[in-house]
């Protein structure tokens, strides 16, 4: 079987696999947010960036190749990943203490993993109204990191196209498939894959707040690096 080196360790891969896919299968964690093992890689958050032959490259979209020497766990890359995480925090409105997703949030867990102690940059404080029009689900756009996982899930799994990215640049935002712009007027359903795929706290179930107490949540029990392994093991 073909293989490449990840931080000096030999990782085998199958033809067509990307570096991140092969790494995850081998139980190695490379920080990532817009990647999900069940979907086609997107390559937008850039957290999974690794260094190959002196050049940075997103490992979720970079195809694995025989003999590559890939660096991931270096001080330089983790410092850059930390900056990206801080950028995601200041771009939106992330008030962890009052967020239902706290403890289950991959952005928060990644921030802990990377040792983030402050947002570093000035907050943008964007004005993003909440959409509570759907009877069962709530959209809190304040926490959106534009990973497009809900877009992909709704399009590729649910065959619905409930979500899409609109706007450009810093004004990029999530929209839903209704003339009114409200989730309640779409065919979104609680059983949709898109309902469960959000890595942060945008797509939230109504009427069921804090049923698992803070302290007993996913990342209270497990560091995010170990959790990704678990998710894959549960799947296979």
């Amino acid at each position: 079987m073909k293989s490449f080196l990840l931080d000096g360790e030999r990782i085998s891969f199958e033809e067509g696999e990307t570096i991140l896919q092969a790494a995850i299968r081998a139980g190695k964690y490379i920080p990532h947010l817009c990647f999900h093992p069940e979907f086609r890689p997107h390559g937008s958050c850039k957290l999974c960036t690794v260094k190959i032959a002196g050049r940075q490259s997103a490992s979720c979209t970079r195809l694995a190749a025989e003999g590559l020497e890939v660096e991931s766990e270096t001080a330089e890359l983790n410092a850059e990943r930390l900056l990206l995480t801080q950028m995601l925090f200041v771009e939106g409105n992330h008030f962890c203490p009052s967020c239902e997703k706290s403890g289950d949030c991959q952005l928060q867990a990644t921030a802990y993993h990377l040792g983030m102690t402050s947002a570093h940059f000035d907050h943008f404080y964007p004005n993003r109204p909440v959409d509570a029009s759907h009877p069962e689900y709530l959209l809190d756009f304040n926490r959106c990191i534009l990973c497009s996982l809900c877009v992909r899930a709704s399009r590729d799994v649910d065959n619905k196209n409930v979500f899409a990215l609109a706007g450009r640049g810093i004004a990029t935002h999530l929209v839903v498939n209704a003339r009114s712009g409200k989730l309640g007027d779409t065919d979104f359903a609680a059983t949709d894959k898109a309902a469960s795929v959000c890595p942060v706290g945008v797509i939230l179930k109504k009427g069921k707040g804090f049923s698992v107490p803070i302290g007993s949540r996913t990342f209270d029990k497990k560091e995010i690096g170990e959790w990704v392994d678990t998710r894959l093991k549960e799947r296979t």
Binding site: L47, L83, V90, D122, R168, V175, R179
Partner: protein, 592 residues
């Protein structure tokens, strides 16, 4: 809207209800109705069998599409630094004052809106504006006053004085490309596709869009791709601020551009070509269409071209205000009717381009040069210019000089020579190849325009001694933030952070701490961004820091750390709301 429904349906019919024509359909709807309203979107959803999210996602990506009314007269001021140097900011204020409206807002009677837009490619005859996407040049106070009068009396745009819309070519120096005569297509078809590629190979031609990739290699790769359905795309998106040479080529040599595309199609085996014309050049569309019609009548396009077993035709696709679409994979996405987000590469367009078919994407000037090469011989062409950069280059010269316009030089010309020829008196700096290029100081004026020294897509902006290079860099940074596609985190957030830092310094709150922050942002933009826009967004700031540090330092009121928050500044909104600007409405600097 109801009465317009049938017109929307006929627009959909005209484009064969093709999803990849979404941009053209949206443009025609907007030209008819002033904006793309919810009823029209309903009809497009149904006609193209696309979800609303796709249509809104695409439409909202491009600056020129409006989902809400922007006034019967939508006026956009070109906001390149060269427009500002010619006084565009004061003219914008004058227009807002005369029309009684606030920048960026639509007037209460839905008559007009006034805002800024990225460089419209009229730098040699600015300040320039777009009115309902049609270019108006050489603005001055009198012209602003006339325009306000026309707007207030609601004179239709096609009844405005034609002098307003006059666009000069301003060709100041011609060399082999601009003085070329005669037809190239006949000679090319005579030679055959193998010989065309040989000539292009022998010429050493490299892409004129700035990156300088070998044209022969690109054509060869596309020709060798297995998929028999191939496309030829001409990139006329010319969005780099300060560049306007493609505008002149498309005005003067449109037929040659199309010949170049046809020659390429013959060489690679393509049947369909597309010219991606930037939305700012909407006014060129009718002329280009009529050139295509003429060529079809002459059997130089269409079926069995010049009696040979070769079919090829060209469509024009209009952009809608997005710099990123100059990047070839984003351009292809846009051609397909999508948001202009650069693709993950590889695979490259030569194997997986338009609708996933092999596609050659070349710049307007590259196709012109290719036509010339096939006509005159590759060997001949390779003797012009330097060893690594054969041929000539068109420069779009603007800024502080007496003769702005188009200059064609063999590669290897020094910056100093260009400055002398264009009548630049005592220049301080030149921005070569636009914001994404290089800012050079007078110490570097002996450098050469060539891929091996100063590569360029054509922009050449001259700055005199009184120009503040910090403000130049700040203008460019805001350009990048405005044009970032928003796909990847480092560029989406990083360019905005960079803009905020430059504004902080501009407002007199900068400190030496900010220089470290700029370097940090540059590092992450360069190493982690998805495409060239992010990679080069910091260039002007860093170049200006390296070469014109006093322009930054004079803004640092404090040499040590200064917080970004300023109490007096924070009261700005309150002052505006209450209409006060007296002394008591301010908090004095010392009093904090």
């Amino acid at each position: 809207m109801r009465e317009n429904a049938s017109q929307v349906l006929s627009i959909l019919e005209k484009y064969g209800k093709s999803q990849s024509s979404l941009m053209q359909i949206l443009r025609e709807i907007q030209e008819m109705e002033g904006c793309i309203g919810p009823d029209a979107i309903d009809l497009v959803c149904e006609g193209l069998n696309l979800p609303r999210t796709k249509i809104v996602g695409t439409a909202s990506f491009y600056s020129f599409f409006c989902l809400e009314p922007r006034g019967r007269y939508r006026i956009l001021f070109s906001d390149n630094i060269t427009d500002r140097m010619l006084g565009s900011e004061a003219l914008l204020e004058r227009m807002c004052g005369k029309l009684w409206l606030e920048k960026g807002k639509v007037s209460e009677d839905s008559l007009a809106s006034v805002d800024t837009t990225s460089c419209t490619g009229m730098c040699d005859q600015g300040p320039a504006i777009l009115v309902n996407n049609i270019a108006i040049t050489r603005l001055d106070e009198a012209r602003v006053d006339d325009i306000c009068e026309l707007v207030r009396s609601e004179v239709p745009l096609d009844k405005w004085p034609s002098a307003f819309f006059h666009v000069e070519d301003n060709i100041r120096r011609s060399d082999v490309l601009l003085s070329a005569q005669g037809a190239a297509l006949e000679a090319a078809l005579e030679k055959g596709s193998g010989a065309i590629l040989d000539e292009i190979g022998a010429s050493g031609l490299r892409g004129r869009g700035g990156a300088g990739f070998s044209t022969a290699q690109k054509w060869d790769a596309c020709r060798n791709a297995q998929d028999p359905e191939k496309y030829v795309v001409c990139n006329a998106d010319e969005g780099e601020p300060g560049t306007f040479k493609d505008r002149v080529l498309l005005t003067r040599q449109a037929e040659r551009v199309f010949e170049g595309m046809t020659i390429c199609a013959h060489a690679v085996g393509a049947k369909k070509g597309m010219l991606y014309l930037r939305g700012e050049y909407r006014y060129l569309l009718e002329n280009l269409e009529s050139t295509l019609r003429k060529m079809r009548l002459e059997n130089r396009l269409g079926r069995r071209i010049l009696g040979r077993n070769f079919d090829f035709d060209i469509e024009i696709h209009l952009g809608a205000g997005a710099y990123i679409c100059g990047e070839e994979s984003a351009l292809i996405e846009s051609l397909e009717g999508k948001r202009g987000t650069p693709r993950n590469r590889p695979p490259f367009p030569v194997t997986n381009g338009y609708l996933d078919h092999p596609t050659v994407v070349n710049n307007v000037e590259t196709f012109c040069a290719a036509a010339l090469i096939v006509q005159q011989g590759g060997k001949w062409y390779s003797t012009i210019g330097t060893e690594k950069s054969s041929g000539t280059k068109l420069l779009s010269v603007s800024g502080d000089c007496s003769h702005p316009g188009i200059y064609e030089y063999p590669f290897g010309v020094t910056v100093r020579r260009v400055l002398e020829d264009c009548g630049a008196q005592d220049p301080r700096a030149v921005q070569v190849s636009g914001p994404s290029g290089t800012m050079i100081s007078d110490a570097e004026f002996d450098r050469k325009i060539a891929f091996e020294d100063l590569p360029t897509a054509g922009a050449f902006m001259v700055f005199g001694q009184n120009r503040d290079m910090f403000e130049v860099a700040r203008n460019f940074v805001h350009f990048f933030a405005h044009e970032s596609c928003g796909f990847c985190t480092p560029c989406r957030v990083g360019t905005s952070l960079l803009g905020n830092l430059m504004d902080k310094m501009h407002n007199g709150h900068g400190s030496t701490y900010d220089f470290e922050e700029i370097r940090k942002l540059n590092g992450i933009l360069q190493s982690m961004s998805h495409c060239g826009l992010g990679h080069s967004a910091c260039n002007p700031v860093l170049d200006a820091m390296k070469k014109f540090m006093p322009d930054y330092e004079k803004r640092l009121l404090h040499k040590n750390f200064t917080p970004a928050f300023d109490l007096d500044w924070a009261l700005q909104a309150a002052r505006q709301m209450t209409g006060r600007d007296d002394r008591a409405a301010h908090i004095e600097r010392g009093a904090q």
